[in-house]
């Protein structure tokens, strides 16, 4: 703890500084902007790789800035944080490429890319936060920096979606704020991982601690889109595709899910939370959300809305895995952070490509599109198989571990939820595949954008193929050291052994 390192701060700076510089550029300086974007994204990935390597050698990276007694700004590197930071940074790099292609010639790109960078700063800040207060600071910063992106198009629909988004997230933030202040008063400053502090307090302050837990959980559940606090997510789909892809599949919603993981594992501790019986309500709500999101997804014709309800459902896998105790289900929950991220981002990329290239926003319009865009829809198909849980795609691994974990603890109802959800996933995703590949087009398909012989612009096509392949690789090479699964397993084992 004594060592102070500037590296965590640099990781944040690698997106914050380019974002600020982009704001200072003129709208038409697009090549400078692109340079800053790519430079920042590459720098972030490299810095995280550097820190990751150092951490594995046993080095400690902590940055502390004291704001007031008991109120510190702490960045601290641990395995779980690095895991999430790596996910954010890698997907940011890929999404930046995609966004450059997607927004070519669009309006307000300066604003877009600046706030996009701020969002990822917030997301990595959340990953590297060393204590509850710092986490909260970035959690709120994320809300604010996403807002201009949600309302980016400036249409009445977008602006109203932004309003809904804010009511939910500001409301959740306010509740979280109350919980965080209350916790800091009762328990003092808590670093993540210092679960013994709460454990030592439960005999005296059991009721207060339980209330605070549920306050914070409710605040986090908004961003994690757990029923009944999920409605903002489908509405926010009005944002441009790269935003939906990165922010509403990874950064924002994962901030909530990651927060729940931190709250249960690193603040209260699994034992204490289990002992105080705090996890049952979470399990019930998460399980209900899994089914509810899937059922709602069945009835959406708008492509992105169907994906959004699918996200609602899939995110609760993480919460459910946290709520069931055991190494296996914890592994499943943690690894699903990454697996869901790469699969869902592939889907949103594909949806964006279809919308940009052919102007199709509805699933019913997409007949025969697979034959015109084999790579895009191929990547999409991989992600679909993963979501359903077919081996060897990544999603299978998550579900397998969650299911094993449930059996291990005797929660057989969870297995039923998982199976039901898989069936529903198949029911709402397979028709898209069927239409795209096996139905004849209703009218002639005339692409609006094309680049050379490729099915769409290379900058959009490469990212979707890459993330599609990543989804496959994460499943196929799950047993290899360094795979998401192996890291998630190590995090979980450390949790239970310590």
């Amino acid at each position: 703890m004594e060592t102070t390192s500037i590296l965590p701060l640099l990781i944040l700076g690698s997106s914050f500084i380019p974002g600020t510089l982009i704001l200072l550029l003129r709208e038409d300086q697009s090549s400078q902007r692109t340079f800053l974007n790519i430079f920042g994204a590459v720098a972030k990935v490299s810095l995280i790789a550097l820190v990751f390597a150092g951490y594995m050698r046993g080095e400690d990276y902590t940055f502390v800035f004291s704001l007031a007694p008991g109120l510190n700004f702490t960045l601290r590197v641990d395995l779980l944080g690095l895991f999430f930071a790596t996910l954010s940074a890698v997907l940011w790099l890929i999404t930046t490429l995609y966004a450059i292609g997607y927004l070519e010639g669009g309006r307000h790109r300066r604003r877009f890319f600046a706030f996009f960078s701020y969002c990822i700063t917030a997301s990595t800040g959340i990953a590297l936060s060393g204590d509850v207060v710092t986490f909260f600071i970035f959690y709120e910063f994320l809300t604010l920096s996403t807002y201009p992106l949600v309302v980016h198009l400036g249409t009445d629909k977008a602006v109203n979606a932004g309003r809904t988004y804010l009511w939910y997230t500001i409301g959740g933030g306010t509740i979280l704020f109350l919980g965080v202040v209350g916790l800091s008063v009762i328990a003092g400053p808590i670093h993540f991982g210092q679960t013994e502090i709460i454990a030592s307090l439960i005999s005296e302050n059991a009721t207060q601690l339980a209330i605070l837990f549920f306050l914070m959980l409710a605040g986090l559940a908004v961003k994690a889109a757990i029923f009944p606090l999920h409605s903002w997510l489908p509405i926010s789909m009005v944002a441009p595709a790269p935003v939906s892809a990165l922010l509403h599949a990874v950064a924002v919603v994962k901030a909530g899910a990651f927060g729940i993981i931190r709250l249960v594992y690193d603040v209260y501790g699994i034992e204490t939370a289990g002992y105080m019986n705090l996890l049952t309500p979470l399990a019930v709500f998460a399980a209900f959300t899994i089914i509810y999101g899937s059922v709602r997804a069945l009835f959406q014709d708008d492509f992105k809305r169907r994906l959004a309800f699918s996200t609602v459902s899939q995110l609760s896998y993480i919460a459910l895995g946290v709520a069931i105790t055991g190494v296996l289900s914890s592994t499943g929950a943690i690894v699903h952070l990454v697996h869901q991220g790469i699969m869902k981002i592939t889907m949103f990329f594909a949806a964006g490509i279809v919308a940009e290239t052919y102007g199709f926003y509805k699933i019913s319009e997409m007949n025969g599109i697979g034959r015109r865009m084999p790579l895009t829809m191929g990547a999409f198909a991989i992600a679909v198989f993963g979501m359903i849980g077919l081996p060897p795609v990544a999603g299978f691994i998550s579900k397998w571990y969650l299911g094993l974990g449930a059996i291990e603890t005797g929660s057989y109802w969870v297995v039923l939820v998982l199976l039901g959800s898989s069936a529903l996933n198949a029911a709402y995703f397979l028709p898209i595949i069927y239409r795209a590949w096996f139905c004849e087009p209703v009218q002639e398909l005339v692409p609006r954008r094309r680049s050379g012989r490729l099915e769409t612009q290379a900058l959009m096509l490469i990212p979707v193929v890459v993330t599609g392949l990543l989804s496959l690789a994460a499943g196929v090479f799950a047993a290899v050291a360094g795979s998401p699964l192996s890291i998630a397993r190590e995090i979980a084992e450390r949790l239970y052994l310590l």
Binding site: P69, F141, G154, V181, V185
Partner: protein, 511 residues
């Protein structure tokens, strides 16, 4: 008190702006502006030097003309005073720069508004004097100077609505001053002294003291637009010229709060009761909810901002109950007072920066569009991104989202609420934040919405927009030195061990 190191800085801090203001009266309109701006920069520089001096030496005093109290006048510059002086200087210098470019951009009417400069410098001298005063009568003189200058500035635009608003303002100011003076007379009659330090030692609880406390608190509440005496503020602040609105809301109302804090902590500690604290807290709580709601309901930008001030000042009143525990209640931590006053100081600073920025942004929008109906914000994000950013950042600080100064203040306030066991204030604080988010994001939503009509749009100089943005950023930057600033303030007599014993005495002495 007397054996503190002496310094001539306190006298210069008051004297210099008066001198420059008087000097500027001999110039024509253009010269007034030049002299005024130079005077502002000089005064701000002096404030910086004063800050450094107190940081090095601790509290210093100045005895005017060598006449020692109780006969003469003593100025005391302690950490609390110098923090307020510093804040006034920082915000003041930005507003001065804004005013310089603002009046220049309206070249044709330049001469008409040039009285701004002497009035503002007199006002500044009054504020510095207020922060440095160490006796009740001096404080009265300074709030009178401030009040007169503030009313004159408020009516400077010469528009009919500002004249009516100014009249109301004047009446409120006079009522407040008279009540305050009445209380001072009562104290002087019963003790024969006006010196704050001395009064803190010799003032005995009793009917006279309680009554004096009551009228003084009433007078100051009127002056700082504490609910339910806030009626004069929205019209006066919203009808003034942009730099004036910024001055009035960022700095002027804080003067009365400063006196209230000083007197409650240093002088009347022994006479404070739990019920009294709760009552003033209740006024603050109602102000928070009512002011925010009113702001939400307004259709004119400047009225939204002005009503928001009522709410933000309510938070300041809410720190008073946290300083006085209920009889028999034990605080949650040994250090239970610190969060409450830290919240007060930070709320003052964060509001000063954010509100000044907000009013200046409103001025920019009026310059561009010719009116301030909230519809004029439509498409602002494309037309003036920098001003949109300023409104966004200042608004975030008003809401209290991290990592702004407003967040820090609310954090400390909420912590004080938990530690003092007065949990009933927590919903008010959070509801206030939520409502604030309501009107701030209503404005931002418009800024991102498409423009409906093709209204004429006059480009506004970038310099004006930069000043507003820097002030907004200021409301965030004040968080970084927080730890040092709190330590610095804790060495102050007001917030040192003095307040603790006095407040605890009050809490337990009156049951």
């Amino acid at each position: 008190m007397i054996n503190l190191p002496t310094s001539s800085l306190p006298a210069i801090l008051v004297g210099l702006p008066i001198l420059v203001a008087t000097l500027s009266l001999f110039f024509r309109s253009r010269g007034k502006a030049v002299v005024g701006l130079l005077g502002s920069l000089l005064t701000a520089g002096l404030a910086l030097i004063a800050f450094v001096e107190v940081a090095q030496l601790g509290s210093v005093i100045h005895i005017l003309g060598g006449w020692e109290p109780p006969l003469g006048i003593l100025l005391r510059m302690d950490p609390l005073a110098v923090v307020f002086i510093g804040m006034t200087a920082l915000v003041g210098v930005f507003i001065s720069l804004f005013a310089w470019w603002y009046f220049r951009a309206q070249e044709s009417t330049n001469g008409k508004f040039s009285l701004f400069w002497p009035l503002w410098l007199f006002l500044w001298a009054g504020l510095n004097g207020l922060f440095l005063s160490n006796d009740l009568f001096n404080l009265f003189v300074t709030i009178e100077v401030i009040g007169i200058c503030a009313v004159a500035l408020a009516v400077l635009s010469g528009k009919t609505d500002s004249l009516f608003a100014g009249l109301r303002y004047l009446l409120a100011a006079i009522t407040g001053s008279m009540a305050y003076l009445f209380g001072v007379a009562l104290i002087y009659g019963s003790t024969g002294t006006l010196d704050l330090g001395l009064l803190g030692q010799i003032l005995e609880p009793g009917k006279t003291t309680t009554f004096a406390l009551l009228v003084i608190t009433f007078g100051l509440m009127v002056k700082m637009a504490g609910f339910p005496f806030h009626f004069w503020l929205p019209p006066a602040h919203s009808s003034a010229l942009a730099p004036v609105s910024a001055l009035l809301s960022a700095l002027v109302v804080k003067g009365a709060f400063y006196i209230l804090l000083r007197l409650w902590a240093e002088v009347f500690g022994i006479s404070l009761t739990y019920a009294g604290g709760q009552l003033i807290g209740l006024a603050g709580a109602v102000a928070v909810i009512w002011g925010s709601w009113q702001a939400f309901m307004q259709t004119n930008l400047k009225l939204i901002i002005a009503h928001s001030s009522v709410a933000q000042l309510g938070y300041l009143l809410m720190i008073f109950p946290l300083l006085i525990l209920a009889p028999g209640v034990v605080a949650g931590s040994a250090d239970w007072l610190s969060p409450a006053w830290t919240a007060g100081v930070y709320q003052v600073m964060a509001h000063a920066f954010a509100k000044a920025s907000f009013f200046l942004s409103a001025g920019i929008i009026i310059m561009a569009q010719g009116h301030d109906h909230k519809g004029s914000l439509r498409d602002l994000a494309s037309r003036m991104p920098m001003t949109t950013m300023a409104i966004g950042i200042a608004g975030v600080s008003l809401i209290g989202l991290p990592p702004s100064g407003g967040f820090f203040a609310k954090w400390m306030l909420l912590k004080g609420v938990f530690l003092s066991g007065q949990l009933w204030w927590a919903p008010v604080i959070l509801t206030g934040s939520f409502l604030t988010a309501g009107y701030v994001f209503m404005l931002l939503r418009l800024a991102f919405a498409p423009a409906r009509d093709q209204e004429p749009f006059r480009p506004v100089p970038h310099s004006l927009q930069v000043v507003a943005l820097l002030l907004a950023l200021g409301s965030f930057l004040i968080v970084f030195p927080a730890e040092n600033l709190i330590q610095f303030l804790e060495s102050s007599e007001t917030f040192g061990s003095g307040i603790e014993s006095i407040m605890e005495g009050g809490a337990y002495g009156n049951n």
